[in-house]
Amino acid sequence: MEDNKEKTLVDRVWDLLASVKLAVINFAAIAGTSIVGTIIEQDATREQNLDVLAKFVGDSMAPQAYDFFNALGFMDMYRSWWFIGLLMLFSVNLIICSIDRIPPAWRAAREKMKPLTDEQFTSFPVKRQIIMDGTPEENRGLITTAMRTAGFSKPGGVDVQDGYQLFSSKHGSARLGVYVVHISILIIMIGAVAGVLFGFKGHVSLVEGESTAVAYKRGGYASTQEQQEVANTLLQSGGNVSVAVEQLARKYQRTPESILRRIRDIGIDPLGFVLKCDSSGVDFYPQSFSPKEYWSDLSVLDSRGNPVVRKRIEVNDPLKRNGFTFYQSNHGVQGRALRQDTTGTTFFGPYEPMDHPDFIFEVVPRGGVSPMNVSAKFEQPFEIPGSKATAVVKSYVPTWGGSQQQQYSMSNLVVELEVSDPEQGVYSYMVPQRSKQSPMRDGTRMTVKDIWGVEYTGLSVRRDPGVGLVYLGCMIMAIGLYMTFFMSHRRLWMQASSAGERTTLKIAGTAHKHREAFEHRVEKAIGLLSEGGK
């Protein structure tokens, strides 16, 4: 008696986990909670969230509000215990419902076709009966052709009293399509979990000319002393992880394993090689502030610092190396505000080291035609070719006429020069990049081509061992969707029996989806018979 009771409980749990009702409830729950997650920004730092919350509940209430949401798991919702629990319930439901239903579907798909009795011919949803001239044997060819027209190329057959029966079935596997889709969902979820557990998602920002041997989970650059030391050690060892780890192990008297663990804990992933940003920029559409292309010229350096790989990456065109992929994510200009004039324009100078950027100018002397290039360093006098004057770079404005926010990109670069001309005196001159400018006092025309060394590129770095599984799952899902929605398990029987000098042809068929399309095809096949037979 007790055995019976336990079985029933297990059965009841099993039935619940296999039920469609649970599936629908799960859909509603995951969908409903996801809605909340889209409204709150996920994965922001505590400070960012406090900042935002303080604007409305006040500074004193903000930490409490944050802790309230945090405890409910709303701040990083998609990784919270209850959301993952929901996803696990979803997976269990999926697995158990499939285990429950695949065997009967498999049997139905593989069921061998048997000939029908006379009564059965009348009980099918698609049924017809016609009379043909000629004996059954004479008509065998036509009837087989009719089966082919209806889509069944190699019908099996048996002999029956007074004649024979042809039958065939097609696409039985359509019944399994649903479970193919379900399995593909599981494969995708496994791939996603593998990516989360064993992969790395981060960033690295590089100023033109800068190199790195690491990527950062947060931020894109070293923000603590510890991170800085790790980054530098790895850079000095040419990207060689074991050499760098040995060095740090010796310095801090710890095991290499614990050093590696610490490196991961502070949010750094060593690349295993050195990546350098040779140059980076934005191309704009002509006469527009719309960006056409964000690009970065990257090179991979060997242990001696020589480039082994060079690639220009753009959005939608990343660089792959050593299991890592580097995507062009964002781009900017850095600078130190020097002063502001009465119109509110801020003039910038470079950060240290101040002699790092190259200001590259194109000069067309008065009366000349061909342009000449000259480059200069910040605050260092240089000669202007084809002219008696010398100049000094004093500052630059990345986007002339733009707001504070627009100074993050060089949409309309202007460089401020102090020109010393023996004849014209000392004066200030603004050199544009894109807009028109009147020439210098002595008739020389100048434009600035680029400031190499103030632009930085933000690269999104990704290593995902699970992505292959996810792609595989997607392909299987595509197949499963096709099987479920566009294929149908069809069966057709045709029985020819003699009626005097003529043939009585009985037809029966069934399709588990798209019944009218199937009926239509059968009608067409029969129509040809009625014409063909005489």
Binding site: V20, V24, F27, A31, F289, N316, G402, Q405, S460, L481
Partner: protein, 511 residues
């Protein structure tokens, strides 16, 4: 050259818009008078409009191409911003509609499907979405754009057809329950209170009265729900009270959380807009951000709180009474009210102006609900209420019209299922899977719980629920039709709401 083609495209689209609106009116007339000739005229107008819009699409493609020929032909397909995608949605919808009209040999569906196209076109005009051709931003320079956007919108069109046909099913199969006097009395009072509060936002007594009303209604509903929940285990006063209190507390907590979420979202949207500065204005993506911190005054938050209670009470009532008739009358009534409001906007603000000089300026509902004159706003809300009530009272007339179209209910169910059986796999593959693959190629992350991606998943779950619920006992008819209608509202939010109200990585809209 590109500006000539752009002009041709604009003109052709203008013609198509006019023809579609005429077609919508013709189909509705056909449904009312059942004149076969009118039905055929409607079809001819629709086909002509469709051809005109196709021409407009091709000219716009050419104009896009000539603006930047080095990008190649494929990258120039005009599916890159809110305007182009809305227009393409209309095109896909009409295409799928014509297919269904041809397959089922009836113009009967036209009266319910073409208004969806109509309201989309009206929205484009009234919201002031710019039709300028903007050069492709780097993130969109990918061959995935074509497949992903094309398939997503074909799927949306299928879902829109299912929305219309499942509404038709609800109209045909549901019956009015006349025991709704209490409902209308309460709803009418609530509307009236909201109207008064909108006119006198400073009046604290009015606010208190409003909240007392909605909370009282909520508690009353909670009592009924509690009684229903404990029915099985033998009714008991204490249990009823406990459940009622629990339900009421949950509702109030949910309201507070909702308000906080809305506030958070508004602040972030404003910050994001600031960071992007005037760049989006230069790109002419049009449409001012719907929210800004200046709007977050106490009365706006109070209104949202009231509305939250009202909507939750409505949902509880519908679930409790399983009143499908009321559900469809509210949906159809609200839809036609919105369409009518847009018509008023058109008459008041858009006639008499040549071309489209009003890019970026939204006049949506300015002639009615959002009018600067409080009296007009109040009258609009009262009229909306009245229209919905009239639909409720005389809904059987609409049912009669549909019946005379000789479209059996199982055919409606079939078309609904067929449209979703088409839309769901296309959306899964083209929308979710190709979208994820493209994100992987572009940003290295195939899924980042970005609002657009997440809402696409939510929509996917909605239609998955529809497909699975059909296998649940008793779910085949009216219940699944409601799912099909609600899931389409999710589609509208995924498509428009996310772009216009939330922020994220996706390119369309003001963000």
């Amino acid at each position: 050259m590109d500006s000539t083609y752009f002009q041709y495209s604009s003109n052709a689209f203008g013609i198509a818009t006019v023809l579609y609106i005429l077609a919508m009116m013709a189909y509705i007339t056909f449904m009312v008078v059942k004149n076969k000739a009118i039905g055929h005229v409607a079809t001819v107008i629709t086909i002509t409009g469709f051809l005109s819009q196709t021409i407009a699409f091709l000219f716009r493609w050419a104009a896009f191409y000539y603006k930047a020929p080095d990008m190649g032909l494929i990258r120039a397909i005009p599916l890159t911003n809110l305007y182009e995608s809305l227009v393409f949605f209309v095109w896909s919808l009409i295409l799928i509609y014509l297919f269904i009209e041809f397959k089922y040999k009836t113009q009967g569906f036209g009266a319910f499907v073409t208004p969806v196209a109509g309201i989309t076109l009206a929205f484009i005009e009234m919201y002031g979405i710019s039709d300028h051709i903007n050069p492709l931003v780097p993130a969109l320079q990918s061959n995935w754009l074509l497949v992903h956007v094309f398939m997503s919108f074909m799927a949306y069109a299928g879902f829109a057809v299912a929305f219309s046909t499942s509404l038709m099913y609800l109209v045909s199969e549901s019956r009015r329950d006349d025991r709704r006097n209490a409902f209308w009395a309460v709803a009418g009072t609530a509307f009236f209170m909201f109207g008064l509060i909108a006119q006198n936002p400073q009046s604290l007594p009015l606010w208190i009265a409003g909240f007392v009303l909605v909370i009282a209604v909520d508690i009353a509903l909670n009592v009924e729900i509690a009684q229903k929940l404990i029915q099985g285990s033998g009714g008991n006063k204490t249990k009823t009270v406990i459940w009622t209190v629990a339900l009421s507390l949950v509702t109030v907590m949910a309201m507070f959380i909702f308000i906080q979420l809305v506030k958070l979202q508004v602040v972030k949207a404003q910050e994001a807009a600031e960071i992007r500065g005037t760049l989006s204005q230069m790109q002419g993506t049009g449409g001012a951000p719907a929210w800004s911190p200046e709007n977050i005054k106490g009365d706006i938050m109070g209104t949202i709180a009231l509305l939250f209670f009202f909507v939750v009470a409505l949902i509880k009532y519908l679930l409790l009474k399983k009143d499908f008739y009321l559900f469809w009358t509210m949906t159809v009534g609200a839809f036609l009210t919105l369409l009518g409001a847009m018509g008023l906007d058109f008459l008041l603000y858009r006639t008499g102006s040549s071309g489209r000089p009003f890019t970026g300026e939204s006049v949506l509902f300015k002639a009615s609900f959002l009018s600067s004159q409080p009296a007009v706003a109040v009258i609009s809300f009262i009229s909306a209420f009245a229209i919905i009530f009239i639909f409720w009272k005389y809904g059987h007339i609409l049912r009669g019209l549909i019946e005379k179209l000789k479209i059996p209910s199982n055919m409606l169910g079939e078309v609904t299922y067929g449209s979703i059986a088409f839309g769901f796999p296309v959306f899964t593959l083209g929308g979710l899977i190709f979208g994820a693959i493209w994100a992987d190629q572009a940003w290295g992350v195939y899924w980042s719980w970005d609002p657009k991606e997440t809402w696409s998943l939510i929509t996917w779950f909605g239609y998955a629920a529809y497909l699975h619920a059909r296998y649940m006992r008793g779910w085949k008819g009216l219940n699944v039709s409601v799912l099909a209608v609600l899931s389409f509202i999710l589609v509208v939010f995924t498509y428009l709401g996310v772009n216009l109200l939330l922020s994220g990585l996706h390119a369309y809209g003001s963000g």
